[in-house]
């Protein structure tokens, strides 16, 4: 009995020790090289027809992904990519590189691990974002600001409203995860301007 008790104490202490270790931070992003390709001139306002976007590269945070098309859900919210490992372009927004604010959204995580935009909030003003179009040309953007908003105070005007130059908005989740609602309570928005 003494032996059984001692074993139980030891096993429990070991169990406690094993389950109390802090969550280790995920390793730093692998920085990617900037993609190469013909960089299309900023379009004249009246000839704002540019090819559709097909891929996104953000070297500073190791993002390299194809782009899927996003529409609206039945409730009028922004559709999100079906996979957490790809980003999507909202087809109701201007094409990246055309006049106006193009909108690209991606998941911060899945139920088990990081998603394509896991490190989006680590972008800083001046970082470059590259969007490849169907004709192989690149639209290059410079990050101007990175913000976090509570979802019930989402800045609809700043993200979806008209802009007079070619801009980009990258959206993912952030802040506190509400397990009851099964969703994050905030959105991270990255603002970028074509260079």
């Amino acid at each position: 009995m003494l032996a059984a008790g001692a074993v139980a104490v030891a096993a429990s202490a070991a169990g406690l020790a094993l389950t109390r270790h802090p969550v280790t931070a995920l390793s730093a992003a692998a920085v990617l090289p900037a993609p190469t390709g013909p960089i299309a001139a900023v379009p004249r306002p009246e000839t704002a027809r540019v090819p559709r976007p097909v891929a996104l590269t953000i070297p500073a945070i190791g993002v390299q992904t194809a782009l899927v098309d996003l529409g609206l859900t039945s409730t009028g919210a922004l559709q999100v990519p079906p996979s957490t490992s790809v980003a999507g372009w909202y087809t109701g927004s201007p094409r990246p590189g055309a006049i106006g604010s193009a909108v690209i959204a991606g998941h911060i995580d899945s139920r088990v691990g990081p998603g394509v935009f896991f490190r989006l909030s680590r972008l800083r003003p001046g970082d470059r974002v590259y969007v490849r179009r169907a004709d192989g040309t690149l639209a290059v953007f410079r990050v101007t600001s990175v913000r976090m908003y509570a979802k019930d105070e989402f800045p609809t005007r700043a993200v979806y409203g008209p802009a007079p130059d070619a801009e980009l908005r990258l959206i993912t989740c952030g802040g506190v995860f509400d397990s009851g609602l099964g969703s994050y309570l905030s959105n991270t928005v990255v603002y970028a301007t074509e260079i």
């Binding site: 009995m1 704002a48 600001s145 700043a158 409203g161 130059d165 959206i171």
Partner: protein
């Protein structure tokens, strides 16, 4: 009933960090404060030769932007600028940068606002007009306005989709107010005197257009400028872009393990006690 002092202290110690944690969370949810505005430059004086257009930050003698050899009808893309005071100067094309400008005007760029600085009127009465360009459309609508820059026809009337009037009797050198219109592809008709010209204009929801009436080589010409564009259908609320797999979770409760340790210890003590209670084996 008064709580014992140590309990009150414990509550205070638990609550203060919570408050400290909550304050920055609230502050970070503020709206984006952009400090950028936009300016574009245009030459809309039919009988004025090409010019060089200079943009200076107010009080700065070196130009921030120079557009060379800007001819009649040319409109630059919008240039993003830090909010503040600026001066726009026009010189004859090729004139030295240090020469006295033909014309200059100052403008204040407010954050989030866009402006068109246009040389308008006849050469004899050339002036720089600063137009406040609108960037917000009513939900689901397009905005459209007209700049009358034709000297051939001093007065024009612009209609669309048959007989809907966009603006009537707009005089040379003037600008119509914005008109909000449902999304459509409109056939715009410009009539001045005996001249008439039509243009197809795609008025997408969330877009802002300026139609410039110009003198062409053979008659009136309409230039359709897309001033700004946003999302046609604006999504409701934020985006559901996460499932919580990397969200910080509270560490698991240590209680089950502590109970197991306690139970094990009790078992061990009980076992030890029983061992001591047994009669000693005889030697």
């Amino acid at each position: 009933m008064k709580l014992p002092r140590f309990i009150r202290r414990a509550i205070a110690l638990a609550v203060v960090p919570l408050l400290l944690f909550c304050v920055p969370a609230v502050a970070s949810a503020s709206v984006a404060g952009t400090s950028t505005g936009w300016v574009r430059l245009a030459h809309l004086s039919p009988n004025t030769p090409a010019v060089d257009v200079y943009l200076y930050s107010f009080g700065d003698t070196s130009a921030q932007l120079v557009l060379h050899h800007v001819g009649y009808g040319a409109v630059s893309p919008y240039e993003p600028l830090a909010a503040g005071e600026y001066t726009v100067a026009m010189r004859a094309a090729g004139a030295p940068a240090a020469s006295t400008p033909v014309l200059s005007a100052s403008l204040t760029v407010a954050p989030g606002h866009a402006y068109t600085v246009a040389g308008t009127g006849p050469e004899s009465g050339l002036r720089l007009q600063v137009l406040d360009d609108q960037l917000t459309t009513p939900p689901g609508k397009a905005l459209v306005r007209v700049i009358q820059a034709s000297l051939r026809q001093h007065v024009v009337t612009v209609t669309y989709s048959g007989d809907a009037v966009l603006v009537s009797h707009l005089a040379f050198g003037s600008v119509s107010p914005y008109h909000a219109e449902s999304a459509m592809t409109a056939t715009v008709s410009v009539t001045g005197g005996s001249e008439h010209v039509t243009a197809s204009v795609a008025l997408g929801a969330g877009t802002v257009h300026t139609l410039v009436v110009l003198d062409g080589a053979k008659g009136l010409v309409v230039d359709n400028l897309l001033d700004a564009a946003g999302s046609g259908a604006v999504p409701v609320g934020g985006a559901s872009t996460g499932f919580g797999g990397t969200a910080p979770h509270a560490p698991p409760s240590p209680l089950p393990w502590l109970l197991a340790i306690g139970a094990g210890a009790l078992l061990a003590i009980a076992g030890g006690a029983r061992l001591r209670g047994l009669p000693r084996p005889r030697s």
